[in-house]
């Protein structure tokens, strides 16, 4: 069972320093989002994210999860924007009450591409980087360690919260709760799921805080690290170049 997004594989992508990957992902997303050319996000996904995923031997998982995340968004955006895009004139299909408009679909395509790129690039980082490596790298370059901790535990604990939700749902089902059927039935089933989940998580917070204190979490001494991150001079230079290049491209797109 997956306890985090990380997929341990032996690959060059996995070996990269987390910051190198983070900077790369940020540059891809930044450029994809700010670009005027509406095909760019999808082009970046196809010709940058996917080859990198293939190099990291995580392409199959990446495509599967990205599509699972992105498809519901894309479908709803396409419907909403296609039918209700403000000021759209070019009708493609007329349903009588509503009409599918070309401008709306074009806008939906642009947005969908951005979501696809964001999800794909984000998962590329999360799938190939051990969460504690990512935190360590960020803390080492000056991020407050408490913030790093919060980010990483949030990522790590998400699958665990899912498992807990499934257990609660099973328990409620065993007591006769209907969870399948119409939308209304499903929405109603959320209430007995959410309250134990949320209140349970809140109750855990206090014990977690105490347990962290018991392990010197708030110690003011300079922290050390059990894990060591492998970094190379080449990567350090590459990071600055990507950062610089990405910023320049973004700036050009914004001020053009």
């Amino acid at each position: 069972m997956h306890r985090s997004f990380f997929l341990p594989r032996r690959s060059g992508l996995h070996e990269l320093h987390p910051l190198t990957k983070l900077v790369g992902v940020l540059a891809l997303v930044g450029i994809g989002f700010l670009a005027r050319w509406s095909h760019l996000p999808i082009a970046l996904f196809l010709f940058a994210v996917l080859p990198l995923a293939a190099w990291g031997r995580i392409a199959r998982d990446l495509i599967r999860v990205t599509l699972t995340v992105v498809l519901p968004f894309v479908i709803s955006i396409a419907i909403v924007q296609g039918l209700f895009f403000p000021g759209a004139t070019k009708t493609l299909i007329d349903f009588g009450f509503f009409a599918l408009k070309e401008e709306g679909l074009v806008f939906a395509y642009g947005t969908a591409g951005k979501i696809l790129l964001l999800a794909g690039a984000g998962l590329l980082l999360l799938f190939s980087t051990h969460p504690s490596d990512l935190m360590l790298a960020l803390v080492q370059c000056g991020m407050p360690h408490a913030l790093g901790y919060i980010v990483v535990t949030a990522i790590q604990l998400l699958p665990q919260l899912q498992a807990k939700a499934a257990a609660i749902l099973d328990a409620q089902r065993a007591r006769g709760l209907e969870t399948e059927g119409t939308v209304l039935v499903r929405v109603r089933a959320l209430i007995p799921l959410l309250s134990p989940l949320v209140f349970g998580a809140l109750a855990d917070v206090d014990e977690r805080a105490l347990a962290l204190e018991a392990r010197a979490f708030s110690s003011r001494r300079a922290k050390t690290s059990f894990k060591e991150l492998r970094d190379t001079r080449g990567q350090a230079i590459a990071r600055w170049l990507i950062l610089l290049g990405g910023t320049i491209v973004c700036a050009i797109e914004v001020w053009r």
């Binding site: 901790y149 204190e213 018991a214 392990r215 010197a216 003011r220 001494r221 690290s225 059990f226």
Partner: protein, 283 residues
């Protein structure tokens, strides 16, 4: 090693003190069990012992708690953790949630304390050895059973090499096998490191077999204090809501039937019960 001097503590927004005038001395290397009904003040005692009162919990504290020569009220919590370790009930909530292998998880406290990396390996391995989980060092801490996870939580505290170990109902969520493994780890700890152990525990049979001394709390005050055999056979146990060991219950019933000699002390362990019954039959 541990010294409580007239300690009274009241939680914020409550009228009645959770600890009342506690005077207590615990020697180095002893294994002390604390028993009591819900709300008797057991967890509060642990929190006071580990310095979480007054550093984490507000409220009103009177008296002094001295652990390993340090006054808990004036020593920062992050210094105290290297002297007093605290293990909680829920093993899952004690893991940092930020580490993917057992060894890294155990090293978390050392990282926070700024222990040099070269020193960590030996300390992590030693802690994992005591709890018997060395071979799992590279596994995910979440892929373990509840009992194993609780031993990880213990190792996470042990790695900081505290001289006093406080455990607040660590076996509450464990099955009998997990409980046995934890008790054996504690015994190893006392014999190998001369740690002082203070254990809050409901399972009186286990206390009887392992502890040197038992303290019973009731309504925030110490009502019984002595050897397991003296405290666990006390007639007051039922009155303060503590389950009597089954060997004691059996011998009491036998005594009413004339099957247990009146002058013989009631047993609290299996061995004592066997011995007592054999004495009667003259073997």
């Amino acid at each position: 090693m541990i010294h409580f001097e007239r300690v009274t503590y009241t939680y914020p927004h409550t009228a009645h003190p959770a600890l009342r005038d506690i005077n207590l001395d615990i020697d180095e290397g002893s294994f002390v069990a604390v028993i009591g009904a819900n709300g008797a003040g057991k967890s509060t005692l642990c929190a006071a012992l580990a310095g979480f009162i007054p550093h984490h919990f507000r409220g009103e504290l009177q008296g002094r708690v001295i652990v390993d020569g340090l006054d808990t009220a004036t020593t920062p919590l992050s210094e105290l953790v290297t002297r007093v370790g605290l293990v909680f009930q829920n093993p899952f909530n004690q893991l940092s949630g930020a580490k993917l292998t057992l060894a890294e998880e155990v090293a978390f406290g050392l990282e926070n304390l700024g222990v040099p990396r070269e020193e960590m390996f030996a300390r992590v391995n030693a802690a994992l050895d005591i709890v018997g989980l060395r071979e799992f060092a590279n596994r995910s801490p979440y892929a373990l059973s509840g009992g194993e996870m609780q031993r990880v939580a213990l190792a996470c505290i042990l790695v900081m090499e505290p001289r006093v170990l406080v455990l607040d109902e660590p076996t509450a969520q464990l099955d009998p096998i997990g409980t046995r493994e934890l008790f054996h780890a504690l015994r190893a700890l006392i014999s190998e490191r001369r740690c002082t152990v203070v254990l809050v525990e409901q399972k009186t049979e286990w206390i009887a077999a392992f502890a040197d001394r038992v303290i019973a709390l009731h309504d925030g005050a110490i009502v019984l204090d002595g050897t397991p055999r003296a405290v666990l056979t006390s007639a007051r146990l039922d009155e303060i809501g503590i389950r009597v060991p089954r060997y004691t219950v059996a011998a009491r019933a036998a005594r009413e039937q004339g099957l247990w000699q009146r002058e013989l002390e009631l047993p609290v362990t299996f061995e004592q019960a066997v011995q007592g019954f054999q004495t009667r039959s003259g073997k």
